[in-house]
Amino acid sequence: MGFMDFFKSSWGVHPDDHKRPAADAAARRVPVPPRVYIPFSQHVGAPARPRVVVGQHVLKGECIAEAQGNISAPIHASTSGKVTAIGEITAPHPSGLPILAVTIDSDGDERWIGTEPIHDPFSLAPADLARKVAEAGVVGLGGATFPSAVKLALGLRSKITQLIINGSECEPYLSCDDRLMRDSPEGIIGGIRIMLHATGANEALVGIEDNKPEAIAAMRKAAAPYSEIRICPVPARYPMGSDRQLILELAGKEVPSDARAADVGVIVHNVGTAFATRQAIYEGRPLVSRLMTLNGDAMANPGNYEVLVGTMVSDLIAFSGGYKSPAARLIMGGPMMGSVIPHAHVPVVKGTAGILAFTAAELAEEEARNCIRCGSCIRACPMGLLPLEMANNIRADKLDGAEQLGLGDCISCGCCSYVCPSRIPLVQYFTHAKGQLWAQERGKLRNESTKKLAIRRTERIEREAREKAEAAAKRKADKAAAAAAAAAKKETTGA
């Protein structure tokens, strides 16, 4: 810590990382389960549209649902076998609501569909590369699951100068990115080179938290031949892996609150995404499996596992060796931002970076107390917000007040809740308020469209009435004219 750091306010928190021993254990490949359940919605954006029917035999890597809309991603069969159902399963989401998924009974052959590897991607136009990545169903594997091709294609619209590769893995307990960087650094670097070409960026900065020295060393070695790729250790601090924070740390650029990273010439991709991109191009293989972490005190064998998308969490945990003590909570993702899953009968999806089984002792839940205005949340907030003031506004139902204080800038990282000595679930307040505001916005839009429809209806009724009246008047006039004409005729003939 330098002398000036003393005066610099610092954002973020330093939770115990709990990454080892899981990170140090060799990654294991989970065998093909008898049955996989592949949801159609595994990404941000519109769900993919099914294109298989029940009873159909599919090959591994076969597209079973295609992207629909501008922001979407196709879904591929993660193993070969027969489609036995297309129906609802429990979503890997706290709500436990049903979502649509394809069920494939594996035939155990793991037969791949014919792939079209590209051996010289640098001869391809960036747009074609982005299309290949899109076809492979690659999404952001850091957890955001934003379709990667959409981000790659941004390079065609905005001038991208820097590519930031996120290997920070700031969430405690998770180590799949760490493991991937240690085991397949060449694969990641290969993916980064494709991304550089696709976006037209001049350089790639790979941010890795300094609590992963093995990963830093491995990546440095793999990146050595390429001067345009720099490995940049960053201090271990949560949420370093948040895009705005990482961009500020590595590129020294502050993304305006109403802009995207691409607007300042930067694009952020996760190391796992880079690896998946390389596979999509050099091997022509779509994203059907991923490396993920099993961790938590209740887990018998914490470690990293290569899992087919659609594998039931229960199958995965059973393969790993089950629980060693009762799990009080199952979490998908990291402990800071991950979500509770209702039970283990939910599938692993593309964005699943980890499954954590926590014991009650690990959760150490406590009742919330009154705020003592200690200001810890303000110091911790990486966005410079006033969490305690926002929560006070929300509690008093003053959503506008919270919005003025910057609710919209909240990234839901959970630092405020983490440091709160009164254990106030601050981030829950914010999530609730954001949902309320979103619902209000939707309601407003709906009201407006209803109003428009009503106005149009009134207009139409008026118009119809007018037209009717006009028609009647015309008929009447015609009749009168005809009668007059007849009378005149009569008169003339009668005369």
């Binding site: 306010s9 939770p15 706290p94 405690p172 705005r244 500020l248 502050e254 305006p256 609150s257 109403d258 802009a259 607007d263 300042v264 209740a298 229960s314 945990i317 629980y323 060693k324 003590s325 009762p326 799990a327 009080a328 909570r329 979490i331 402990p335 800071m336 509770v340 899953i341 039970h343 283990a344 954590l356 926590f358 959760l363 839940e365 107390r369 009154n370 705020c371 003592i372 205005r373 200690c374 200001g375 810890s376 303000i378 966005m383 410079g384 917000l385 006033l386 305690l388 003025q404 910057g406 800038d409 959970g414 983490y418 440091v419 709160c420 000595p421 009164s422 254990r423 981030v427 999530t431």
Partner: protein, 361 residues
């Protein structure tokens, strides 16, 4: 456990790991850092001081429990957060060590009921509860609140014994004139008001002196200025308080004191007299840093702290009271919401006024 065991999912949201901070832990640590200064005070002022301390803390806890019960919020976390003990502790440290028992009881009532619970309990009060009590006691009962005694260490021959101390604090025996003494700030004020300048006021043998080890008349907690400061530093290193308020408050006293004393030493006390007497140390490290009643941003803390220090100096130098820390803190407390509003931190990606940053080409 079998593979089929289903984890029970309580409705819960991230983050799923708790931080280490807790209100009780914070209150406990603050109290722990106060122990050396408090025990030194006990040693200097003997049994009456110990009784006064216990009565004040006891009164605060009693009123806290009574209020919470009346409000129907009698729960364990409400009672065990340790905040009432801390309020009583801090109030006791600002009282004359041989003050009568009812000062402690009434002080606890004022601090907890009028200073805190009427606002809605912990975290809701606008003013520092201990300072509300201290100010109210001082303006209501000026005589017992300004009756200081010279330290007679508990081990010394002349120190009052256990029984005698009970008589002293219950008022059945009056405090002998021989042990009473003016505080340094009080002496300076009285003499200046009589038209005697400071050079002559402090010339005599009986005049109070600055004692670096606290061998002088004063409140229970002020004698041990260095131990108070050490406790404050400990709180800083434990991460309980930031440096902003203490440093700013001390500067708020030191800067005008340095200027004033340099200009006219016969009229203005020097820096060490200001820093080491009265409640500046306790105020800077323990009173003004109260989370609830001080601003929450770093910049706000600097403004608040400097204000506390400067107003203290103004009251001491030109006001009617010899000491002004309590008044200064209460006055600045009332400005806290405004300071908070004016020193909002800049949001990442926005300018100081909250507009989105412009993209530079």
């Amino acid at each position: 456990m079998s593979q089929l065991s289903i984890a029970r999912a309580a409705p819960a949201a991230a983050p799923h790991v708790p931080g280490k901070a807790s209100v009780s832990r914070t209150m406990f640590l603050v109290q722990a850092t106060l122990v050396p200064a408090t025990f030194y005070g006990f040693w200097l002022y003997g049994w009456p001081a110990i009784f006064l301390f216990l009565l004040t803390v006891g009164s605060c806890v009693f009123w806290e429990a009574a209020c919470i019960r009346m409000a129907g919020r009698l729960t364990k976390p409400q009672l065990t957060d340790g905040s009432a003990i801390l309020t009583g502790w801090l109030l006791a440290l600002t009282l004359p060590p041989w003050a009568p028992w009812w000062v402690a009881v009434v002080g606890g009532l004022l601090a907890i009921v009028f200073g805190k619970q009427v606002f809605g309990g912990i975290g809701q009060n606008l003013f520092n509860p201990a300072m509300v009590a201290r100010v109210a006691l001082l303006v209501s009962f000026p005589v017992p609140l300004t009756l200081w005694v010279m330290p007679t260490p508990i081990t010394a021959a002349g120190a009052p014994g256990f029984i005698e101390s009970i008589h002293l604090i219950t008022g059945t025996v009056a405090i002998p004139d021989a042990v009473t003494s003016a505080s340094l700030l009080g002496h300076a004020k009285t003499e200046l008001n009589r038209g005697i300048d400071l050079v002559h006021a402090f010339a005599g043998d009986h005049a109070p002196v600055i004692s670096w080890i606290g061998a002088r008349a004063g409140s229970l907690g002020e004698s041990a200025s260095f131990l108070i400061a050490a406790g404050g530093l400990a709180m800083f290193f434990l991460g309980i308080i930031s440096w902003h308020i203490p440093v700013a408050m001390l500067l708020g006293v030191v800067i005008p004191a340095a200027i004033g004393h340099a200009v006219n030493p016969a009229r203005y006390l020097d820096i060490s007299a200001h820093l080491l007497s009265g409640g500046v140390m306790l105020g800077a490290f323990y009173i003004a840093t109260d989370y609830v009643t001080s601003p929450s941003t770093d910049k706000g803390k600097l403004i608040f702290g400097f204000g506390c220090g400067f107003i203290t100096y103004v009251i001491r130098t030109w006001g009617g009271y010899p000491e002004g820390v309590a008044f200064a803190v209460v006055l600045m407390n009332s400005l806290t919401p405004v300071i908070d509003r004016l020193t909002k931190p800049r949001i990442l990606g926005r300018d100081k006024r909250g507009r989105p940053l412009q993209i530079k080409d």
